[in-house]
Amino acid sequence: MFESVKGILENYTEYEVREDSSLMGDLALSSFDMAAIVAEFEDKFSISVHDRDIINFVTVKDIINYLEEKTSSSN
């Protein structure tokens, strides 16, 4: 999962993506970047992400946990 997430995030940041990287701090992502990133997750994992869930993403790990939960519940 980390590699998949990293692959998408790397298109939006010039910084190294680690599990503990903070999205807005370490990776300098804007709310606009997050909107585009989430759209990519939706396509890649065939899930639907609620707008209000995005607010809870602080670190890369948060995204991984969220996606793991979403993809396991949709299986």
Binding site: M24, A28, S31, F32, A35, R52, V58
Partner: protein, 516 residues
Amino acid sequence: MLKTEDLQRYYRQIGTVDLRSILEVRVAHDPDGIAYIYGEGETHTEKSCRQYYDEVISLASYLHERYQHAKIALIGENSYLWIVSFFATIISDNIIVPLDKDLPPTELKELAQRSDCELLIYSQTYADVAEVLCEGGSLASLSMPEISNIVAQANQAEFTHQRDHEDTCAIFFTSGTTGKPKGVMLSDKNISHDSYYSAFDLWLKGDSVLTLPLHHTFSLAVGVIGAYMCGHAVYISKGLRYFAGDLVKHHPFSICVVPLYLETIYKRIWRQAKDTGSEGKLRWGLRISRTLKKLGIDVRRKLFKEIHDELGGKLTDIICGGAFLDQDYIDFFDDIGINIYNGYGITECSPIVSVNRAEKRVPHSVGKPMSCLEVITINGEICVRGDAVMLGYYGDPHTSHDALAGGWFHTGDLGYVDDGYVFIQGRKKNLIILPNGKNVSAEELEEHLEHIDAVSEVVVRSENDRIVAEVYCKDGQNVDAEVEALNRKLPPYKRIAEVRYRDTEFPKTTTQKIKR
């Protein structure tokens, strides 16, 4: 379709400018014109001016029977019913309190209590937040599905009550420098005059896509009231995630944005050029465009057709406000054939203070003051006077008195006025204004950080549009985990992007205050 000059003439004939008369003029002359569009495919809905007006009046009548001079909080994502609720509350002689949906429920509850709200109007998405806010029973609630039923019964409803347009009709919360959001009290006269005159000062020439959050006065004044007055349809976008797609689907002529949007579009254009190996072609195109323009030849829309197509194909005018916009972005968009009208506003002035006009845009300036406002500087501070200036801060007469000293609103922004054009140079006080237009109080974040045991001293500032906290910790401790925990409780725009550690205490003034 009404001609622009006819619509302008009808609007000029208004005796007393207020929000209701702004709605009524277009309904009287363009009843079947489309005011709003929302939804997609089968759920796609168009509302004519007549339908919109009838639904506003129907809800106003319903509210007026139950509430008068009451504060009514409003929370929800951008939607047609949000807009109907906003206007209906004001026309019903009540006071609307739009809330920022991204704030944590505890903070929203505090704001609703502080502004003495009696009713909460909420969208279904925020039903859980409404439950928290209404706990204890002092706040009644009305959901948007319920409102949908009320307005469904709209049939040329009679509602003749006229509110005093100089009374408070809205309270907008804005970040102050003291850490606690201030409730800006605006009258119907304030909001309607600012929107009315700004529409004449910068007349929008075509349909638009509404994307900025509606609880911001800028979005309401230009994106909603201004677009309505100019006779256009507004497509209500569901939010940031859908913005790019909505541009392509709905082909707006104009949009109203904050700088972050322009920065993002700019970066996207260059990234795409890089990915397709056409960076050189883009640079060459920009050079050619500039040269030809000097010769009076304008081929920008042909030269950059692919870029225009990605923005819907018709986008010509972008009104930008809410935060500082670098002149380089204005120049770039100008080179590709899109006019950026950069302006300056502040919630306390309903909010537009000045904007660059179609006839003349002055580089690095935020344009000329609105026709209903005067702007001067007092000791280098931008001060504003006129019909759009607020009544004061709710429940805070002392701060109101200081802010409105001498009959001028003291903006806290530093700048100058040259040949009628306003130039902004910085902030007098410590307020962080981010490219997304959000204002963040450095003191509020410092207060949160000071609650972390290991933190002895802290200064929060903005660097390259990121929030940076410089901390001095006892025994050189690390507080990264605590800051991450704090960030989880804060809305995204207030999150601390970087913690920078110092080995020594901050230098102090003689009164032992930290030198910022």
